[in-house]
């Protein structure tokens, strides 16, 4: 059965476990938002030495934003702003957004919030999620802060699902702690494809992204590449396919935690 047909069915339509597991095996792929709607609460783990975490978060957010079907009452062009929340520590480690380097769709629409503490950043994220005039919210929080516990992430999930504003929270240099995020990614940079005219130059950005925990998708690992206005995903290895087979059968594929 093709993935699209399965994932378009509502969850409650399935009664038997086999069908349920078949539905859960629906793999994530770019452009899925056209069928399922946008992924609402996402976490991307990345290192502060590289911009891969933010890059993947932006790529996923833009991919959802482009594929979500527009309701007939809406304006033809979505001109809503984007809220980008950083703690001061995150800005010091990874820098602030540079307008000229943002994707063309986002230039001139970013509203930047610089929070002193993690508590302030969480407040700003929640306020952003409650605002109907925002396309999505991006947050950058370094480390495993005490304020960002399971309760805080649950608050964010509820706010996001209530008002339908997607959240992409980038966790810099953090361990995989408890969270209620619906999709959790781990992102690192990957060598880019050589550009057409100068093979010696860095090409379009590419990342190795691992979806290690998701509510309605099987985990997997992809090499994401953003070229022009589309997001391409190639399967990273065959190992993950095996993991998916087990996962769909109800077995969790366990792997050694990368960090403490």
């Amino acid at each position: 059965m093709p993935d699209a047909a399965l994932s378009s069915l509502p969850i409650t339509a399935f009664e038997d476990v086999a069908a349920l597991s078949a539905r859960r095996s629906a793999r994530w792929r770019p452009g899925l938002a056209a069928v399922q709607g946008p992924a609402l609460h996402n976490e991307v783990f990345g290192l502060s030495r590289e911009a891969a975490g933010v890059g993947v978060a932006l790529a996923l957010a833009l991919d959802d934003w482009r594929h979500v079907p527009r309701e007939c009452g809406c304006e033809a062009e979505d001109r809503r702003s984007v809220l980008w929340v950083q703690t001061r520590e995150a800005a010091r480690l990874g820098g602030r957004p540079c307008r000229a380097g943002l994707p063309a769709d986002l230039q001139g629409r970013v509203i930047h919030v610089l929070a002193e503490k993690v508590e302030d950043a969480l407040f700003a994220l929640e306020e952003g999620l409650r605002c109907r005039d925002l396309a999505f919210v991006i947050g950058e929080i370094p480390g495993n802060a005490k304020a960002l516990d399971f309760t805080a992430s649950r608050r964010l999930t509820l706010a996001s699902e209530r008002h339908g504003v997607p959240l992409f929270l980038v966790r810099l240099d953090a361990a995989r702690d408890l969270s209620s995020a619906r999709m959790r990614w781990e992102a690192t940079s990957a060598p880019s494809a050589p550009p057409r005219w100068n093979a010696q130059a860095p090409g379009d950005p590419a990342w190795r992204a691992e979806l290690f925990r998701a509510r309605s998708h099987a985990p997997g690992e992809w090499v994401l590449e953003e070229g022009g206005k589309t997001l391409r995903a190639d399967k990273a290895s065959s190992e993950t396919d095996r993991a998916v087979a087990n996962w769909a059968a109800g077995l969790q594929h366990r792997r050694a935690p990368r960090r403490a």
Binding site: R99, H112, V113, P202
Partner: protein, 524 residues
């Protein structure tokens, strides 16, 4: 055609009121009985200047004694040794004139100040309410006499003509629309044109003393003489045209404005936060009604809290967009009231909208709608600004500069974006810029080879691919002469991490030793 030009069918009527002794009258009325007693003797109002006290105004007996406006007090003392003095108050005079201008709207819907001591009132289509223009002038004279203010007034079709007649014409002059204005005004002195003193001197030296004489030497001659004077007060021809109504003369009307203000006096001083929130909520509701009645929304609010022991605590709030939602105002103030020290209790609260903007009426229950549909962007930004501060919520905007860290500025999020030149498509910029470029140790082929390997934050990166250099020269119009150029490289290391680094200077540029390398940006 006449329907299109109501002005032509029914010309404007302007009433000019001149109070020749306004400062003196105001001084006399401002105090108790002894001021009136002093007024019979020679008296002058003085202002301090760099050369000693100078006379600003003199009363009738002072003028008879020889004092006049603009004279130094020492000179007047030699003429009349027992002259009395009092300080003049120009700011108070201006405020008095402003109040008088609003008061003078009893004779017409629209009035303007003509500092320092005149008023202009538009009485078009009004005189019949007073029984004609003559009776209107009589009413003005009677009302001012009751207030013990000396005045001269006149009515004419233009502001310039009314001013000229009130200052230099016969008392109570009326210039009707069908009169030949040029002939009526021909006998007035050229000073009636409201010209600067140096222009009056020029005219006097030319032998032109009356308005009628300006026409005798021909318009071309005057035009040639004053061809460089563009300001009306320096060019007699423009003033003459204004008097005769050939050129429009814009006037700035006085419009009274009231700041929306609500307050609560409390029977029992409050000391607890819960009660304070209740009162602030009531005030916000009052303010919302007040603003709604005026069709406005508040941009800036000031909450003053008067404490029993004589202290006043003030909290200011500025909104990103005009609002009059009581719940929103309450919520914003709630965040600012945490550090209020109530002391022995707060006995009065006052909420003032010191900056209000027009805001159209719209449907109600916005707060209920926000609960289901989410808040608007302006409300969201207000809440963020109140908790995090003004500087924390910003939007990046481009700025005309080649230096990357200077090419971007941060401004409040809802302000309009300044115009700017588009970025060139082949200049690739990184996704994020570090606040301060970080120095890195780079292995490269001197003087200007590609970087091979570098160390940043304690880790070594092997460079796999390079693009560059993009050379950015220092901006000589902003920076000192010794600033070095920058060669930017986009690089990717062996693990695919992409950075934006630059070499500051080049060997042999005579601006320092071996060039340093910096890492400035992180590419996606």
């Amino acid at each position: 055609m006449s329907a299109l030009l109501p002005d032509a069918a029914r010309p404007r009527r302007i009433l000019s009121i001149w109070m020749p002794a306004m400062a003196m009258d105001r001084w006399r009325l401002g105090g108790s009985g002894e001021r009136r007693a002093l007024d019979d003797k020679p008296l002058v109002l003085i202002a301090d200047t760099a050369h000693g006290p100078r006379i600003e105004a003199a009363n009738r007996s002072g003028m008879a004694a020889g004092a006049c406006r603009g004279m130094m007090l020492a000179d007047a003392r030699t003429l009349c040794p027992d002259i009395a003095t009092a300080p003049s108050d120009p700011a108070g005079d201006l405020a008095f004139l402003e109040k008088l201008a609003i008061w003078a709207q009893r004779w017409g819907p629209w009035s303007a100040m003509d500092a320092p001591d005149s008023l202009l009132v538009d009485v078009t289509a009004v005189p019949h309410l007073f029984g004609g223009e003559g009776r209107l002038l009589a009413d003005v004279a009677e009302t001012f006499a009751r207030r013990e203010l000396t005045l001269r007034c006149a009515i004419a079709p233009t502001a310039g003509a009314a001013w000229a007649l009130s200052h230099y014409g016969p008392p109570g002059a009326i210039l009707a629309a069908q009169d030949d204005a040029e002939a009526r005004l021909a006998d007035l002195p050229v000073a009636a044109l409201r010209l600067d003193d140096d222009v009056l001197t020029v005219l006097r030296r030319l032998g032109l003393k009356r308005l009628g004489e300006l026409a005798t030497i021909g318009r071309d001659a005057i035009q040639r003489r004053f061809r460089n004077r563009k300001s009306p007060a320096a060019n007699p021809l423009i003033r003459l045209d204004q008097i005769l109504g050939r050129v429009p003369e814009p006037l700035l009307p006085v419009v009274p404005q009231h700041m929306p203000l609500v307050q609560r006096r409390l029977m029992e001083p409050i000391r607890h936060r819960q009660l304070l929130d209740q009162v602030v909520g009531d005030l916000a509701g009052d303010m919302a009604r007040e603003l709604e009645a005026r069709g406005e929304g508040a941009r800036r609010l000031e909450l003053g809290m008067w404490r029993v022991d004589g202290e006043v605590v003030v909290r200011r709030l500025e909104m990103a967009a005009a609002t009059r939602e009581a719940a929103h105002i309450c919520r914003l103030f709630a965040a600012r009231l945490d550090d209020v020290d109530a002391g022995f209790g707060i006995e009065m609260l006052r909420l003032r909208a010191s900056w209000a903007e027009p805001l159209a009426l719209e449907q109600g229950d916005i707060e209920a709608a926000a609960e289901t549909h989410g808040t608007s962007l302006a409300a969201c930004i207000d809440r963020l600004t109140v908790r995090l501060g003004r500087e924390a919520v910003t939007r990046p905007v481009p700025f005309a500069s080649h230096i990357p860290e200077r090419a971007q500025r941060w401004q409040p999020p809802l302000e309009p974006e300044p115009t700017s030149q588009g970025e060139l498509a082949f200049h690739r910029r990184p996704l994020k810029l570090l606040d301060n470029p970080e120095r890195i140790a780079v292995l490269y082929a001197t003087p200007d080879g590609y970087p091979r390997r570098f160390r940043w934050r304690g880790e070594v990166h092997e460079v796999a691919r390079v693009e560059g250099p993009e050379r950015i020269a220092p901006e000589w119009w902003r920076e000192r002469g010794g600033t070095r150029l920058r060669d930017y490289y986009r690089i990717e290391d062996d693990r695919g991490r992409r950075y934006w680094i630059y070499r500051l200077g080049i060997v042999g540029d005579g601006r320092g030793g071996a060039p340093d390398w910096y890492l400035q940006g992180l590419c996606a």
